[in-house]
């Protein structure tokens, strides 16, 4: 399930040093729970994103372990401290081994 997966991130382009900013992330993904059955009654195998991490210049902001109970198109909102100019790195890890990444630069000003 690596088709049509598109990460979307909302982050400020600028912040004052030491500011706390709110980050919102959404990634399009079916998050097949492994509980559903197809029309022949066979279980559809689980296929979810099992981990999401966000870091700033390599320093961790949040590391989330996802289970099957997270909704389709996983959405997260959290806060980060921005100590200096740099890059926010967002990474999603799929059950099938795919890794999806996004990056946002934050300037100080």
């Amino acid at each position: 399930m690596a088709d049509g997966v598109k990460p979307r991130v909302k982050a400020p382009k600028k912040a004052a040093a030491g500011d706390v900013v709110t980050l919102k992330t959404l990634i399009s993904h079916k998050m097949e729970s492994g509980q559903r059955k197809d029309k022949d009654g066979n279980l559809i195998p689980r296929s979810i994103i099992n981990r999401f991490t966000c870091a700033f210049n390599g320093k961790s902001i949040v590391d989330v372990t996802l289970e099957a109970a997270i909704s389709t198109n996983p959405y997260f909102e959290f806060e980060a401290t921005i100590p200096e100019a740099g890059d926010l790195e967002f990474t999603w890890y799929d059950d099938d081994g795919s890794v999806y990444e996004d990056k946002k630069s934050v300037a100080i000003g």
Binding site: S33, I61, A69, I70, E77
Partner: protein, 138 residues
Amino acid sequence: MEFSRRDTLALGAGAVALAVLPFQVNAAADEAIAAFTGGADVAEGGVTLTAPEIAENGNTVPVSVDAAGATSILLLAAGNPTPGVATFNFGELAGSQSASTRIRLAGTQDVVAIAKMADGSFARAASTVKVTIGGCGG
């Protein structure tokens, strides 16, 4: 309608099974909590869990957790086929120990948040969500 001895026994066995089933569901959640806390005591309060009182659609229920001073927060749905929902581990640049997401709930149940504090203690909050349409696609 008259009950034969066989009917009565069958009814009794059914009633016992019904009484035991919800207990097993909770046991799975208790196990997940024990695995997270390592059997340590869990205090009430210190965590804020925001969830709707009534969710029309169990497929996307918005929840948010907030626990100042926590290093990680475990989110559980006690009534789901698998109780685990998510674990948030906060890093050094976390602006606050809070997060929001959207979760699936199979039916009306308690959503539980357990926070592991920086000093190694644990805190807990729970909220009952009424679900009109379940979100596990049975």
